[in-house]
Amino acid sequence: MKIKGWIIVELDGKEVYRGESRSFVQNLGKALLAFFQSTASGSTGGTVSITNTSGGNASIYGEYYGGYGSSGFSPMAVNAPAGTDSYGIVVGSGSTPQTYSDYALASQIKNGTGAGQLSYGVHTTTSSYGSASSYVTISRTFTNQSGSAIVVREVGIIARQSTTTNSNTTDTKFLIARDVLANPVTVNNLGTLTVTYTLTLSTS
């Protein structure tokens, strides 16, 4: 059995990059640790320290229950809405080599229509499950409305953990993947860039 990760980059609908993802960072391992060590006992716990996107230490939960009012838990969300660049799939212009301790892109391109900015779109997911091969994908499209070309050299995934108690939500955002592209991709004005992460399982 094999597990593989892939990054696919499309420019104006045409594939321009396909590479093996070598991108997970230690925050993902720590998040899985938090979830795995949960006892499912109905009690809040299983905290693990991670590095948030500001570079500070933060605790995330493996299991969480809120108090009165609205309450709930979102362990590791990625499905950010359009216009949000603080989590989900993100892109940047930096080329600093990836390390396991990365907590942010080297130089994230912000959402917007100003100089050097890209308009962040919604995410889409797909999945296919078979007895010999399966995959899941998550994609996001970025549109250049800045008036000038923008070069993308790095892509990543920022997760959001939300804990809600007494109708108040607290968020922790943490990088779980970062890849520096082997070849930079130039997004022309009014062009679109689509980044897809794929995780595959196969028995061969």
Partner: protein, 224 residues
């Protein structure tokens, strides 16, 4: 079994998730009578499905559902996030830290040898918890952070799950398969057990009467 195992596969160093199963069998005097190591080949579709369900959440005040095949073989709804208007809502997506005496999640062992398929939802023949014929007493699980192993390239973040199984019957019991069953638990809403990994061992392990087997699964996340 506290040794830190090095998780790497020189044939495919960039495989994003990999693991090893270590088994140690002891007799009634505590002497090691058999041990071995096996590379995991085994994550199931359920593992992809629970990851996708979590990632599909937008966070904040949203609930997200997905589907796995529960250990009874039926498609079952799980949550990737949950929020509700009331006290005590929340949960955990993929718990493995089962208490002693529980054979419905955590590391499980079995005697079956049916070939692996991504669609499997249970061990072929689970050895149930107990002291009756053909049963083993399931110990408490432990989940340990082994941190990043930087002595290998690329580095690997390692998590180790360990569980002991005691044979309190009067006959030897053979272990041929090992599984990881997770619990997706959301208070007052969902309580689903589902298989996320199953491995058929290349060697059978015979646990003598009053002996024990300790199973350690070391999962590595390639992080560079």
């Amino acid at each position: 079994m506290s040794q830190i195992y090095e998780v790497k596969d020189p044939q495919d160093p960039y495989e994003p998730l990999k693991g090893w199963i270590d088994i140690e069998v002891r007799d009634r005097e505590g002497k090691v009578v058999q041990k071995g190591r096996h590379k995991m080949h085994s994550f199931t579709n359920n593992f992809l499905a629970v990851l996708l369900t979590m990632l599909s959440s937008a966070g904040g005040a949203t609930s997200t559902t997905g589907s796995v095949t529960g250990d009874s073989g039926s498609a079952t709804t799980i949550y990737g996030s949950l929020i509700s208007g009331g006290n005590g809502f929340g949960g955990t997506p993929i718990a493995l830290n089962a208490p002693a005496g529980t054979d419905s999640f955590g590391i499980l062992v079995g005697s079956g040898t049916t070939a692996f398929s991504l669609t499997q939802f249970s061990l072929a023949t689970k050895i149930s918890n107990g002291t009756g014929s053909g049963q083993m007493s399931y110990g408490i699980s432990s989940v340990t952070d082994l941190g990043v192993n930087t002595s290998v390239s690329p580095p690997v973040y390692q998590i180790q799950i360990v569980r002991a199984f005691s044979n309190l019957t009067s006959s030897a019991i053979t272990i041929n398969e090992v599984g990881l069953e997770a619990k997706n638990y959301w208070a007052a809403t969902v309580n689903v057990n589902f298989l996320i990994a199953r491995d058929i061992l290349s060697t059978s392990y015979s646990v003598p009467p009053n002996g024990s087997a300790t199973v350690a699964i070391t999962i590595g996340v390639t992080v560079g």
